[in-house]
């Protein structure tokens, strides 16, 4: 009996290692807040990485499609139930994650005899003003960080994720054009997929531009746009690179 706590620690450690191993090579996703709204981007197979959740909410993720689907459905169910029982204005990302998704993921992660969720997620909520935006980085174990501005990245490797995020935040400071933002984000996506080091100097811009264009051949660039202003209540819109001049 005395060794039980150690077994627990080991089991959790093994589980964490297993999830990270399974997620290796997953295609990263990005969310960038700008004065006009929030742009989410992922490269997948079409309706596989970036999704609408509710009027002002969207999700982007990498991992096992079945697990992403489970969490997506849970988030949509919770948001619509809340909107119907209360009001659409009462649906908030902070509550959706804090009281819904995060505890669910944590419980699942700690049940060591059941399969863990294999995913890393980004959830975004566009506010009335830029300062009211919320981008949440939700991990497979239920841990989450909330951000109100800038770029947030979800990638399979934590170090690469941090480096990519820092690089993107520097590159995108002051940029508001959606096409320009998408171009830069896709360059970062290519660098992450090719395991290029953001700290030791990246390939020249021409190579990066060329690189992502070749790499997305046969794949689908999924872009979700949460507009800050609009006549419709649902602010989510799917965009294509061609619509953004890419």
């Amino acid at each position: 009996m005395t060794e039980e706590p150690y077994r627990w620690l080991e089991a959790i450690g093994n589980r964490r290692e297993y999830v990270r191993e399974q997620l290796k090579g997953g295609s990263p996703v990005f969310a960038t807040a700008s004065p006009d709204g929030i742009l989410l981007l992922g490269v997948g197979t079409g309706h596989s990485k970036v999704f609408e959740l509710f009027d002002r909410h969207a999700l982007a993720g990498l991992g096992h499609p079945a697990d992403i689907e489970k969490i997506r459905q849970a988030a949509i169910d919770a948001a619509h139930l809340e909107a119907f029982n209360r009001a659409p204005e009462d649906v908030s990302l902070r509550r959706l994650i804090g009281f819904g998704l995060s505890p669910q993921l944590k419980t699942n992660f700690e049940q060591i005899f059941s399969a863990p969720f294999l995913l890393e997620l980004l959830l975004a909520e566009v506010g009335l003003e830029p300062g009211q935006d919320l981008i949440a980085r939700l991990h497979f174990d239920g841990a989450f960080q909330l951000n109100t501005k800038g770029v947030v990245v979800a990638a399979s490797q934590p170090e690469a994720e941090t480096s990519a995020r820092t690089w993107l935040n520097q590159k995108l400071t002051g940029k508001t054009d959606r096409g320009e933002i998408t171009e830069t984000v896709l360059q970062a996506w290519w660098c992450l997929m090719e395991n290029k080091s953001f700290n030791d100097g990246l390939p020249p811009e021409a190579e990066r531009r060329d690189g992502w264009r070749k790499a997305v051949n046969g794949r689908s660039v999924e872009i979700g746009w949460l507009a800050r202003k609009g006549n419709r209540r649902a602010r989510y819109e799917e965009l294509t690179p061609a619509q953004l001049g890419l």
Binding site: H47, F51, L53, I76, D77, H80, N231, R232, A234
Partner: protein, 166 residues
């Protein structure tokens, strides 16, 4: 009912990643009415709605109007429909306009359609005390929404006032 339908249609669209078809939306409202039947029989919550939608499966997208009876039977209206206690009064005007009028309701532009609808409401309120009516002098207008392939547009009271001017 509008809230239930709005939530369920949006829920379907987001969760299934495709929109519900127009016939399915029409039947969803019929089902709601059928489920409301016990309340209707008790004299509470009698609803006879109109349902308008755009059929996106044809090119160009086509507007469709449906009307219902309180038991949930659905009927496809060809050019116009009216519901409510004052509808009896104005249905004959609509029929006349559709048969002999120029332009016919289906051929009216936005200004003509808004003028026509507001004037019909004024007539209906004269003959039916339960119809609220419209009073441009007191800046009292109706709730008007225009359905297009791109979405629903709200015609504000100010705009209605402008459109009502000859």
């Amino acid at each position: 009912m509008a809230r239930v339908l709005e939530t369920s249609f949006e829920y379907y669209r987001r969760s299934q990643l495709q929109s519900l078809s127009l016939p399915a939306k029409v039947r969803a409202l019929a089902r709601l009415l059928r489920e409301n039947l016990p309340m209707t029989m008790q004299g509470v919550g009698v609803v006879m709605p109109l349902f308008a939608g755009v059929d996106l499966t044809v090119s160009p997208p086509e507007p469709q109007i449906y009307f219902y009876d309180p038991l949930g039977a659905q009927f496809h209206a060809v050019g116009y429909a009216a519901s409510g206690s004052g509808a009896g009064t104005i249905r004959s005007i609509l029929s006349f306009q559709d048969r002999y009028g120029q332009p016919r309701p289906t051929r009216m532009n936005l200004k003509q359609a808004v003028q026509f609808a507001l004037r019909l409401l004024m007539i209906a309120s004269e003959f039916d005390s339960a119809t609220g009516g419209v009073n441009p002098d007191a800046q009292t207008f109706a709730t008007i929404k225009v359905l297009r392939g791109s979405g629903v547009e709200n015609i504000t009271a100010e705009r209605q006032g402008e459109l009502l001017k000859p």
